[in-house]
Amino acid sequence: MDPLAELRETFFLECDELLEQLESDLMELEAGSEDLELINSAFRAVHSIKGGAGAFGMTAITETAHVFETLMDHLRSETLDLSPDLCVLLLRGKDLLTSTIDVERGGDPVDEAEAAAVLEAFEQACPDDGEDEVDASEIFQPVGLDLELPEEGEDVSDEDFLAAFAGGDDADDSSDAEAGAGEDTITVTFKPLDVFYGRGNDPGPFLKELCSLGESEVTCDTSRLPSFDDLDPTSAYFFWTVVLSDGADRMDVDDIFDFVGEDCDNTIVEGAAPASTSDDDIGLEADEDDLSLDDASSDEAEEAILSDADFDALQIDDDEDVTAADDETLDVVAEAAEPTEVEIELEPEDQPEPEKVSAPAAAAAQPAAPKAKAKSSGPKPVVRVELSRVDRLINLVSELVISQSMLSQAVEDQQDNSTSSLSSGLDEFRQLTRELQESVMAIRAEPVKSLFMRMSQIVRSTAASTGKKVKLVTEGDSTEVDKTVIERLAEPLTHMIRNAIDHGVESPERRLEAGKDETGIVHLSAEHHSGRVVLTVKDDGGGVNREKVREIAISKGIIAEDAILSESETDALLFAPGFSTAETVSQVSGRGVGMDVVKREINSLGGRITISSVPGEGSTFTISLPLTLAVLDGMVIRVADQTAVLPLSVIAESLRPEPSDIQNLGGEDQVVFVRGNFVPILDVGAALGYREPLETFEGSVMLLVESDTGSEYAFAVDEIVDQRQVVIKGLQANYGRIKGVAAATILGDGQIALILDVNDLAQDHSAVGVGAPVAENLQEAVNV
């Protein structure tokens, strides 16, 4: 991967995190929290996205983020009150931002209409004229406009630059009187180094950003600009001093330079200037303006230095760095003006990187405050690790577990009485490896929160397109599940949520008729339950219309007309392949690939899905999933002298049938009679090609398994060895996919055992084996 692509990837990862942060902040705000920090945090998230996108030239993101940010800024400065409607708008904005970012990632294009609507709504939501703050900012608009010039074209020549900024300076002059009188000022000296431009940065946007923080005053120092002949177009000659009054936040200033901190020699000084120094303050600025307009006459420069020094002396208190810089400044001043000039002349020729000792730098530089690493109390620190590394670790640990059990086995075999210290040591070893394994597995686990966040977006968009009012309530979003499980859950869950809204929740009118609140509630929850994670999707809609389900199932030939089904059996028909209840095929769901796809997906994750429904009160879908895809609860079996593993999740029961229970269905096919049902027998040994089909199943053990389609099979095996957790090893990488085999695992004796794919085997079996589709369907209908 080339470095830029890698950076982009990192940026997108960051975007994901920031969007998550944004969403959770907005959700909390929507829930009625009035914590100003939430607004700040949301603002920072949008701002960081904008900054990052700007660095990659993703203008679409920058523009959207900018509009968003503007509105957030009004909220932050409290020129706008946060109303519930505004919250909804902000969430829509967040969705738009998400999809805009997705586009850059190669996702589907943004819905133009929605985008335009949201952006317009955002602009309307921003308060216009009439307010003091807005007026104040208007005064500064010339600065903003001028600064925009260099931002537009990347190849703006230095002359243009100069022109642009000289214009900016003039504008500043006019507003001089107002600026500097602020109580709470931050003085930023923005001093880009050569490398800043070398990396394609443009000071314009940074200055603009700074100006947007509040009442501001920008001065450009052109004193280091050499004569045209000496000009090196790749060098940095300008620096800017921005005085922010009006309570700008230090952290925001830091944020602006977050991406270029290393490429500039910036100084940021904050603090309320004591009232007595405010005169000096203005004086200083006047001096600096003179300095920048009238190109560095040395006398004036000296004056500037002096006033600067005064100012420094007055304003600075305790920082060592700062004091050092001051001393140097004073020293330089004490030594008279000559060195200053020398420095100025030398500057353009050799390395123009400003150092603190160099007089001009020190002259205009405000005291060098240490670059603040002020991090807000954000999320817990995290390490970003490539998944493959974690997988390797997991592999090694599972190896350790295996060799530990091999060792235990060997020791057990050697000695008859296990009272020695050896076996107690081994016990401890086993304990430790278990713990180690668990903690390693936990690395892969992540909270389902991100998934739930995505779902809330689905809820909003689906609700909008169906014209229903729906609210998503989530619970247990800190429940941790394996990352892979989470990723693969997104699609089925999306489908289920859409279904719940499209088919479950009624229209507002109908809800009111039924005496419910017009806003439907979709409840999404996750919890750990005896080694598995249980997700529920619950809606408070009309519940399953069983009459209709039955009708459709009959019309589609899924069940026979006279089939007698219990309520839960009827509900379970929703999962039957090709079943879709949507009256009209809507845009949202009901493309005929309904819940059966969801069910298949969940099954492939080793999970199960069930439905329960109460007419008029809603439906609940429950998904039970393994915590991780790396281990699996399995039944270790032996067949034809080979050891294999069947996933426990598909096994309903094990039985040792009486010979009389086994019936011939004609030919080679046999069925076993289990509690009133005839279940087809599948000879696992033969199905895997290990041996010829058995003549008789006498003495065989049968495992009753349920395939994806809901059909039951009796798997005939020679022996059940054990029931244990096995580590899943892929076969694909080194060999390829084998029919009937899902993966492999390594048993305690170091041998490999294959994990069987029940669906594959069953499908194979039914294709050649037991009977016509109708019979199958009937069977299925009875068995679901």
Binding site: L396, S398, A687, L688, G689, Y690, Q732, N734, I752, L754
Partner: protein, 155 residues
């Protein structure tokens, strides 16, 4: 593999030679990851005969190819004296079951002769070149041909 040999036409190439069915074969040593003893393999369903199954190579699932059978000889009855050469081709790791490893030697492009244009299609598929060494013929195996082809799609 083929790239390796053409690229380094004038550089000596190290090969590892081994015996299968009383004949000498060799493979490029760069493709060889390790050499280990035989251990019982777990059979794979629906696999060709020459795929003897899979073994556990420190946590990785390693398919074992009976090279003799792959080259058209009878199935080998594996015992503890058999050796497994663990090779890697394009990220795919597999083991070659051979009778014994004989030597490591250095060959140059000049030593490599084209496979004589006789014999079955099968042997020419697997034997890319031959090397004459001390009155013996050493067959240079094209490892990329050894694994069953098109498995990924076959499923």
């Amino acid at each position: 593999m083929s790239d390796n040999s053409t690229e380094k036409a004038h550089q000596p190439m190290e090969v590892i030679s081994f015996r299968v069915h009383d004949d000498e074969y060799c493979v490029n040593i760069m493709s060889v990851r390790e050499i280990r003893g035989w251990s019982p393999a777990t059979r794979l369903p629906h696999a060709p005969n020459y795929v003897r199954g899979v073994i556990n190579l420190r946590g990785a699932v390693l398919p074992i190819i009976d090279l003799a059978n792959r080259l058209g000889f009878e199935l080998t009855e594996p015992n503890e004296r058999h050796v497994i050469i663990v090779a890697q081709i394009e990220g795919q790791l597999f083991g070659l079951m051979v009778d014994a490893v004989s030597d490591i030697m250095s060959v140059t492009a000049d030593d490599l002769q084209a496979t004589p244009n006789i014999g079955s299609e099968a042997s020419r598929t697997f034997v890319k070149n031959v090397i004459a060494r001390e009155d013996q013929m050493i067959r240079f195996i094209d490892l990329s041909q050894v694994m069953p082809q098109g498995l990924a799609q076959a499923a």
